[in-house]
């Protein structure tokens, strides 16, 4: 599948971080929408279901783990990649238990993120309706 069809949603309250990440992905032909909190993320998923959601676990208001649970319940075809901090391996493992596809630590390695997205897209193809 072409990367322009990946339909990525990035969710992080750190505006400078997530908008810059979106620009870097765009330079590599990956279009990504951006939201900055859990509620907006759920709304964005309901309006236009992404194939991949990259979700920060530590946000004010609705926490990443709650967003993850809601997305897995209501939109099981969405593959969620979690972003955690250094030393927060336990949070990542907890997220995996709740159905996350993977977790990555900040600061990100962009190539690793893209590779993980690629794997998530392929893993999700079987569960997505045509």
């Amino acid at each position: 599948m072409d990367t322009k069809d990946w339909n990525v949603l990035l969710v992080d309250d750190e505006v400078d971080f997530i908008t810059t990440l979106a620009e870097r992905l765009e330079l590599r032909g990956i279009e990504a929408r951006v939201t900055h909190d859990g509620q907006s993320a759920l709304k964005a998923v309901a309006e236009n279901e992404p194939r991949i959601m990259v979700l920060d676990m530590m946000m004010p208001g609705m926490k990443g783990i709650e967003v993850l649970q809601r997305v897995r319940e209501e939109h099981p075809a969405v593959q969620v990649i979690l972003l955690t901090g250094q030393g927060k391996t336990r949070d990542g493992i907890e997220g995996m238990r709740h159905g996350a596809f993977a977790y990555l630590m900040k600061p990100l390695d962009l190539e690793e993120l893209i590779q993980t997205m690629n794997e998530a897209v392929h893993a999700g193809q079987g569960t997505r309706r045509a």
Partner: protein
């Protein structure tokens, strides 16, 4: 302590992440415009290299500091993985050793080594072991640190530089003695002996 410091650690991670992505975007733009030559391109590329290496350095330090902050957590009070915490202890002590004119040559263990000693005590004893090894003139020679198995013991071995004369008085620190079961000095070798968790 972990709970209290977690918030500022998270902020520091976000700051590093923003610096990393912003520098990454500048690098991307330089690549996209590879054919556009301008006077300061090499300087810009080398400066971006410096930023990336410093972010990497900050990431390692933050990881180690975060582990230190969580060391007094309930599940790490009585036991921990010596492989992990000796590594963190060395990372956190490298600057102190450098200020005393020595680098640390550390051989990290390749497998988990659970011990019946809390994480904070392991960290403090490794720090004070390195403090001892660099307490005399080091002549810019490295301190070697290895982790070994000996029966039911697990040993962090700190070897002072060949030309060094570490101060024996530096061994008499409560934080050094609190962690290991035994502290055995053999010439330039300081053995911090921890009981394996079986």
């Amino acid at each position: 302590m972990g709970l209290i410091t977690a918030q500022s650690m998270h902020e520091m991670q976000n700051i590093l992440a923003i610096i990393h992505e912003s520098a990454g975007l500048l690098g991307d733009i330089l690549k996209v415009n590879a054919k556009v030559d301008f006077k300061h391109r090499p300087k810009m590329e080398s400066t971006l290299g410096h930023i990336f290496s410093q972010v990497h350095r900050g990431k390692s330090l933050l990881h180690a500091t975060s582990r230190l902050a969580h060391a007094p957590d309930d599940d790490l009070l009585e036991s921990c993985d010596l492989a992990v915490y000796s590594t963190i202890g060395v990372q956190l002590s490298e600057r102190m050793a450098r200020l005393r004119g020595s680098e640390v040559a550390f051989t990290p263990p390749t497998e988990a080594q659970p011990v019946r000693t809390g994480a904070l005590n392991v960290l403090m004893s490794v720090y004070h072991g390195l403090y001892w090894a660099t307490s005399g003139p080091t002549h810019n020679q490295a301190v070697a640190v290895t982790v070994a198995k000996a029966g039911s013991d697990r040993i962090v071995r700190v070897t002072a530089p060949a030309a060094a004369a570490p101060d024996v008085a530096a061994l008499d620190h409560p934080r050094l003695l609190l962690g290991p079961d035994r502290v055995v000095l053999q010439g330039r070798e300081l053995n911090l002996v921890f009981p394996a968790l079986t």
